[in-house]
Amino acid sequence: MEKKKIEISELRVRYGNKPALNGVSFDVYANEILGIIGPAQSGKTTLLKVINRTLEFTPGTTLEGTVKLDGEDVHTIGDVYGLRRRIGMVLPLPVGLPLSIYDNVAFAPRTAGLRKKSELDEIVERCLQQAALWDEVKDRLNSLGTKLSGGQQQRLTIARALSHQPEILCLDEFSIAVDPVTTMRIEEVLKTLRTEMTILLVTNLVQQAKRLANRTAFFLNGELVEIDATDVIFSDNPTHQSTYDYVNGNFG
């Protein structure tokens, strides 16, 4: 069996009285791409926020159950900021910080305390290349990240998420504001990154999960309906009828 990177057991999250996750348990293996599919309100984004503990910024949430990263409960990890840097997070809408392109990518290393110009230069170039953005911006690293086009900003966001050398990369519907050609370029990037890190790919495009994911999890109304090899989920006979209906576009 492969090494378990993330172990989630009996995870329950409520926003006030509104349940978001109702007792979810599953494992994520090292160096796999796990596709997470499901309609809106099924708890996919909440799941990612629990893993890097940014759920704590949302007032009025209650949480039960455990999330372990390399066997260690994330909620007992002392250095929560270090924890967040072990996880790269890409949100649905591209957010270039109102800083230069260079400073965008150098932001996380700097907050972690890195000051040496040569090392920062090296990180910025490596991450922008990994995110397939380097060739387009290498001559204007000092111009504002917010002035890039939507697709470029999303690749900048990915470069930023890679800048703190995460072990896990979480992508939350990254292609929602990106054109199909850029989406394909980013997907190629993800395929090469798989060797270096574990990737959680939340997506509304079921075909994207089919193209990229080793395994796929189907969420519905805060429940994990089914998690299995992508081939099985997209076959004619997954375990649950609702999975079949969702991936074949019969609902959702």
Binding site: P59, Y81, R84, R85, V95, P98, A108, T111, T146, R160
Partner: protein, 312 residues
Amino acid sequence: MNNTTHTEPGSARADGGSLFTETAIGRRKRWTENGVRIFFFLMCCFMILPLLLIIGYLLYKALPVLSFDFLFTNPKDNMRAGGLWAPFLGTIYLVIVSLLVSAPIGVFAAVYLNEYARDTWFTRIVNLAVVNLAGVPSIVHALFGVGAFVLFAGLGESILAASLTLAIMTLPVIIASTKEALNAVPMAFREACWNLGATRWQTIRRIVIPNSISGILTGVILQVSRAAGETAPIMFTGAVFYKAIAEGDVFAYNLMEQCMALSLHLFTISTQVPDVTAGIPDGTAIVLVGSVLLVNAAAIVVRVYLRTRKKW
């Protein structure tokens, strides 16, 4: 089969007009549209008219006395003649000292309320207090100042006591305007920073403050006009009817002593002193209004400059 009748483009319509000739309805719409626009424009003119009249009238009346000396000599002959040096400098002292107190406290409190505070009973009370304090009449602040600073803190009637009273008065407005400026920075920027492992403080220092500083500064500078213009809060706490100081010496006042102030000076020479040289009250008003407008203009320049560097 539905029964809608289609008209050919340009053909006769039900009301007899063609598409290219104006119909009665079209004409009425055009008249209403023009009428409404002119009405709103007139309202706009009515708003600006009093301001122009005030400044025009004051300038006309004050012109004979306005001069360099008017600003830099003390009042004399029991305030019937002379200049404005003592009250002018006093107002500057009051404004600067009060803002030195209220601006840092207000801005930092607003940062806490907007960036750190959770929705608890404590923050709700603070927010409620901010809203309500902003609406408290200035004479009430004056009485509080007498009790708290002049008597209880033992500052006596002094520039410090008057400035602290003004600070209490401007504080809630500075908190409110700073919160608004901070709130204008999109939440997505903060979330992006947190996801990168930044602390709240790192996020505030590198992203939130640099992108809201123009709004914060504008809010603070606009309080200069309130601090300079109010008479009630200072008249019991530190402003005085008459006090001669060294002309031309900007350090002539001691913070523990009383001072003159433009607003109170204008009030006394208009109502309490007989036979004041014509034009002096108007000149005082012009200096007060003029310096406030000058500061506000500076605020606009700062805002425009910072807006040209807006980053998203």
